[in-house]
């Protein structure tokens, strides 16, 4: 019983850390990618919103 409790404690701690690493990876990718839209992209989006 005791080793099982210990293993569960380590497993859940590991799962939490893995979640943090996953989100950090996606965040870094997004931070590297985020940039202002170009004029043509902005015009395209405006046309899309206007239903053209």
């Amino acid at each position: 019983m005791e080793p099982v409790i210990f293993a569960v404690a380590v497993l859940v701690a590991g799962l939490i850390m893995a979640s943090g690493v996953w989100v950090a990876t996606v965040l870094i990718a997004n931070v590297a990618r985020v940039k202002r839209p170009t004029v043509s992209q902005a015009q395209g989006r405006a046309a899309e919103q206007a239903g053209l």
Partner: protein, 459 residues
């Protein structure tokens, strides 16, 4: 002390870098919903960072210390709630493509009056929650660095409101993701370090203390109290404005659904580690320690100085990520649900209104923070008002084919009135939890309104 200042300064610098990279919102759609372009991982991280506040970290460690697994059982109600929202509510909410807030969705399903009522409740609740978060973060800074409470409240609210005011939801979500990554790595490291290196016979001690604390917890809590706690955790935070905004801002319907389901599963393992931290603290921290001080005392007595100095970083992350979400959600709700129904507002004016509302709610929260008596008490008051006032209207509105406006108005007014009365006018009127009584009253009022009222005009 110098090390802690360097760590905090480094943390603020990274936070500022991410906020700047998220860039200032240039349109209202960007400020309110980040153009509905957020991927699953960021929505998931931001959701978890928003709900893990001081209550779900410092509070749960204290509960684990005093009552063992009791609060894990209670906390699982919260996990179930998130999964249910993911399966049944979030996809329906996300499919309302022209809605910016939960109040907007209610207005879409009922009428403008319902939207304004939902907006008033949403803004009030966000300000209340924000005041509690500001107070919690200020307590951490006050206890670790000895700074005056008033100064720490202003400092925390000022830093958070700057990036939320300019960056809107995009900045809020991206900084939340950073903060989530920080505390999800730091807190398990602290737990494993103490478990493996600071406790003799760690597995045996964990098992013994777990059994002892849990039996004390169940003996000292009545079944009615347990039912009340489960009800508060199951319903109290369901679809509060920051979560609803994240459901609406996700890139796709499936991202919206899956982020809530994953956040529910994550909450179960997070609660397990926080409760386990409280249990491993039992042989190391004096038995009479106040539950809000167990985590700080544990880390101070067991970790090397560098480790102890990481704790304020983790705890400030925990609270700031909740605070920024609440400021943004309150501001968007004010603009969308209270201002826009009365006037045709241009996109530029909406963006300005959202920014000014962020500053106003931040100022209100900073002022009210000084009057917050206890963190958990404040949270329970907010839960008790939110669930009866909004949940029946929101959930039934999303599922019924033709919801009636009268039902929405009666339910929100009855739920809010009964909850406020039981909280402030007759707090000892009954042993039944106020949240359940107010919810039953709101549902009854909804039924009456549904059968007496006509359908929405123009539908």
């Amino acid at each position: 002390m110098a090390l802690s200042v360097i760590l905090i300064a480094g943390y603020v610098a990274v936070l500022a870098f991410v906020a700047v990279r998220a860039r200032a919102a240039r349109e209202y759609a960007e400020f309110s919903l980040a153009r509905r372009a957020l991927p699953l991982a960021l929505i998931f991280g931001s959701l978890c960072a928003a709900y893990i506040g001081p209550g779900f970290s410092i509070g749960f460690v204290g509960k684990g210390f005093h009552s063992g697994l009791l609060f894990l059982c209670v906390g699982l109600a919260y996990s179930v709630q998130n999964i249910l929202v993911g399966v049944f509510i979030a996809p329906r909410l996300r499919s309302l493509s022209d809605c910016h807030t939960l109040g907007d969705a209610i207005g879409h399903k009922y009428n403008r009056t319902c939207q304004i009522l939902a907006g008033i409740i949403s803004v009030g609740l966000c300000a209340g929650f924000a005041a509690i978060m500001a107070k919690a973060a200020a307590i951490v800074l006050h206890e670790v660095f000895g700074l005056p409470m008033g100064f720490t409240v202003v400092l925390i609210v000022l830093i958070t409101s700057v990036y939320t005011t300019f960056g809107g939801l995009q900045a809020s979500v991206m900084t939340d993701a950073l903060q989530f990554s920080l505390f999800t790595i730091l807190m398990p490291v602290i737990f494993l370090f103490i478990l493996i290196w600071r406790i003799d016979d760690s597995a045996g001690t964990l098992a013994r203390e777990l059994t002892a604390a849990t039996s004390v917890g169940f003996r000292s809590t009545s079944p009615v109290q347990i039912v009340g706690l489960i009800a508060a955790f199951l319903l109290g935070e369901t679809l509060i404005p920051p979560y609803a905004n994240r459901a609406l801002a996700s890139r796709t319907t499936s991202a919206s659904r899956n982020s809530f389901i994953l956040a529910g599963l994550f909450s179960a393992i997070w609660f397990t580690v926080m409760i386990a931290l409280g249990i491993v603290a039992r042989p190391l921290v004096a038995a009479g320690t106040h539950e809000d001080h167990v985590l700080l005392t544990l880390v101070k007595t067991t970790m090397p100085e560098a480790g102890y100095m990481l704790l304020p970083v983790a705890l400030i992350s925990v609270t700031m990520s909740s605070l920024d979400s609440l400021l943004n959600a309150g501001a968007v709700s004010f603009t969308q649900d209270i201002v826009k129904p009365f006037a045709m507002v241009s996109d530029r004016a909406s963006l300005l209104c959202g920014r000014l509302a962020t500053v106003a709610i931040a100022a209100l929260a900073a002022t009210a923070a000084m009057a917050v008596p206890q963190i958990i008490t404040g949270l329970l008051i907010c839960y008790t008002i939110w669930a009866p006032a909004i949940l029946p209207v929101a959930v039934l509105g999303l599922w019924l084919k033709k919801p009636r406006p009268l039902a929405g108005i009666l339910s929100m007014m009855t739920g809010a009135t009964v909850a406020l009365s039981l909280q402030f006018v007759w707090p000892h009127a009954t042993e039944v939890p106020a949240i359940l009584l107010a919810l039953v009253a709101a549902l009854a009022a909804y039924l009456v309104g549904h059968f007496l009222g006509g359908p929405m005009e123009g539908k």
